[in-house]
């Protein structure tokens, strides 16, 4: 047996940090962009801003306590070096602080577009978008940095984690939107809501397509190469120990199913100028599938990297 030095707390951290960073990044970009979202822009941005920091802090809590001696984690702040974990620690600390401040600007009951916090909120959004992307991407660099782990040792992992984080962030925003949006019979408000939901769904479909592309390239290059990487990637190919969770949960439930449903949903409006009317039940189903897939992706990759090794001694 190979021992798993990084287990469930680390897997959950990678998933939760990606989810939170993705939600805040999406929130910031929605707030900062000029057109598209109409009067529901603020509601979408608030949703992402308020949920984002929670999973990031929860994940950080998990990895700090995974150390066994949590106060030792303070040693991370005594130096900064080129270890991905060191850079990630500082990025994560900055992101938690700024995303919390950003979330706080949405908390006052008077918060709304053009209130007195609008300037601060925009400035914080400008900080949160790049730092959110950095947090999402560093987790992939963290794993990808090691030649001793051929399954991880690829620059493409960072891209996959970034797309998955943004997609999970959008899924979380849609999911929260379904439960917490104000019910209204005003056709203008409903129209705005459907429009913002349409923009989020099209973006998500694009991200899922990107993930499929990266997974395709990953498998293609594993097939085209020989040696360590080829042996390592066998673990997710048919007959491999992780083939079922990878193809079933990550690719099937996490990417293909939501991607196909989203395409079917957005196609009338995207191509034929029709309308976009997803049912709340379907929105919940798609978002949940994406979140399950996001967790399964971290699980499969973290475990696969540790149960495989360079072939030749």
């Amino acid at each position: 047996m190979h021992e798993l030095n990084w287990g469930l707390p680390v897997i959950l951290y990678l998933f939760l940090a990606g989810l939170g960073a993705g939600a805040v990044t999406v929130s910031g970009s929605v707030l900062l962009r000029k057109g598209g979202f109409g009067s529901s822009r603020f509601a979408v941005a608030r949703c992402g801003a308020l949920i984002g920091p929670i999973p990031v802090m929860l994940g950080t809590f998990l990895i700090v306590f995974e150390l066994g001696q949590p106060f030792r984690a303070l040693n991370l702040f005594k130096v900064i070096n080129l270890s991905p974990m060191s850079i990630g620690t500082w990025l994560l600390a900055a992101f938690i602080i700024f995303s919390l401040l950003y979330a706080l600007t949405f908390v006052p009951p008077s918060a709304g577009p053009g209130d007195r916090l609008a300037g601060v909120r925009r400035t914080l959004a400008w900080i949160c978008v790049p730092s959110g992307i950095s947090v999402a991407i560093y987790t992939g660099i963290l794993l990808g940095a090691m030649p001793s782990r051929p399954f991880w040792n690829s620059p493409i992992l960072a891209g996959l984690f970034l797309l998955s984080a943004l997609s999970s962030g959008i899924a979380a925003i849609i999911l929260m939107g379904v439960f917490f949006r104000r019910k209204s019979s005003d056709p203008d408000i409903r129209n705005d809501y459907h429009n913002s939901s349409y923009l989020l769904t099209t973006s998500d479909a694009l991200l899922l397509a990107g993930e499929l592309m990266i997974i395709f390239l990953f498998l293609l290059f594993a097939h085209l190469t020989i040696g360590d990487v080829k042996y390592a990637v066998e673990v997710i190919q048919s007959g491999g120990a992780l083939a079922l969770p990878f193809w079933g949960l990550v690719v099937g439930i996490g990417i293909l199913v939501p991607f196909i449903i989203e395409i079917i949903q957005i196609k009338p409006k995207l191509l034929n100028g029709g309308s976009f009317n997803p049912t709340p039940a379907m929105e919940v189903a798609i978002s949940s599938a994406i979140l399950i897939g996001g967790f399964a992706l971290r699980y499969v990759i973290v475990v696969a990297g540790q149960i495989t090794a360079p072939a030749v001694l």
Binding site: N5, Q69, R72, N75, N81, M85, M146, P147, P310, L313
Partner: protein, 251 residues
């Protein structure tokens, strides 16, 4: 003088990035660097080990001596001996492969350590772990291509072979070398061309483990069998590797 000589890749990288600024800012130190570097490069001490597996009898004296020397907790090993069994009757062999930290020239564990707890000593090239700084994140354990590291279950920090630093700094041999009944282990300064280890490396066909990983190990082998269980895929002969580590396949 020694601190201007780069050892790890990370420091090289920093020098490449900040080199220009350093030239402008501290011309004096750059001059001394240029003057010192050819000299120090030749004299940079690097302890290493040569293991002649033809003389190894697989008795585990080294593993036991190491356990006793450091009170290594149950289930963990700083030094271990792998058995590689190969072939089908009557064409069979069993070879022994003693393993320990390779004290690499480019240690990946050092590159990934976020706190600087693990570092390569300038004075003798030994890669050490400062348990006062280590946070137990296990990144170095993931990064070592040789699986030489483990999380010490008693202290909770990363641990591994340190070439018996307390012994070699007193001029003694490491405990595993001292206890080897076959005289299979030679310890010494590989940077000194006149040392016994350097002469043996120069005059024998030697190999290192996983040279393709770019780590440039300082533990050399004569007659090592590099066979692994992946060769069973071919179906030509059987290979079985026994690592003698608890719950551990060879990584």
């Amino acid at each position: 003088m020694t601190n201007t000589t780069s050892i790890s890749g990370r420091r090289n990288f920093l020098q490449k990035i900040f080199g220009g600024a350093a030239v402008a800012a501290t011309a004096g130190s750059v001059v001394s660097y240029a003057a010192a570097s050819p000299d120090t490069k030749a004299k940079q001490k690097q302890y290493g080990m040569l293991i002649d597996t033809r003389k190894c009898i697989g008795c585990h004296s080294c593993s036991v001596a190491c356990k006793a020397e450091f009170d290594v907790p149950l289930g963990a090993t700083r030094s271990w001996v792998e058995y590689i069994e190969k072939g089908s009757y009557p064409n069979v062999s069993r070879n022994f492969l003693p393993r320990l930290c390779n004290h690499c020239r480019h240690p990946q564990c050092v590159d990934v350590c976020p706190t600087g707890a693990t570092y390569k000593r300038q004075q003798d090239g030994i890669v050490v772990v400062d348990s006062g700084v280590c946070i137990g994140c296990k990144y170095c354990i993931q990064a070592c291509p040789y699986d030489a590291r483990f999380l010490n279950p008693v202290t909770g920090f990363a641990d591994k072979c340190d070439f018996c630093i307390h012994r070699v700094s007193q001029g003694l041999n490491p405990s595993c070398v001292n206890s080897c009944v076959g005289g299979a282990r030679i310890f010494g300064d590989v940077s000194d061309p006149n040392s016994e280890i350097s002469r043996l490396i120069a005059t024998n066909p030697v190999t290192v483990l996983r040279p393709g990983k770019g780590t440039e190990p300082n533990v050399y082998y004569i007659g090592a069998d590099h066979s692994g269980e992946h060769e069973n895929n071919r179906g030509w002969y059987d290979v079985r590797v026994t690592t003698h580590r608890r719950d551990k396949d060879r990584r």
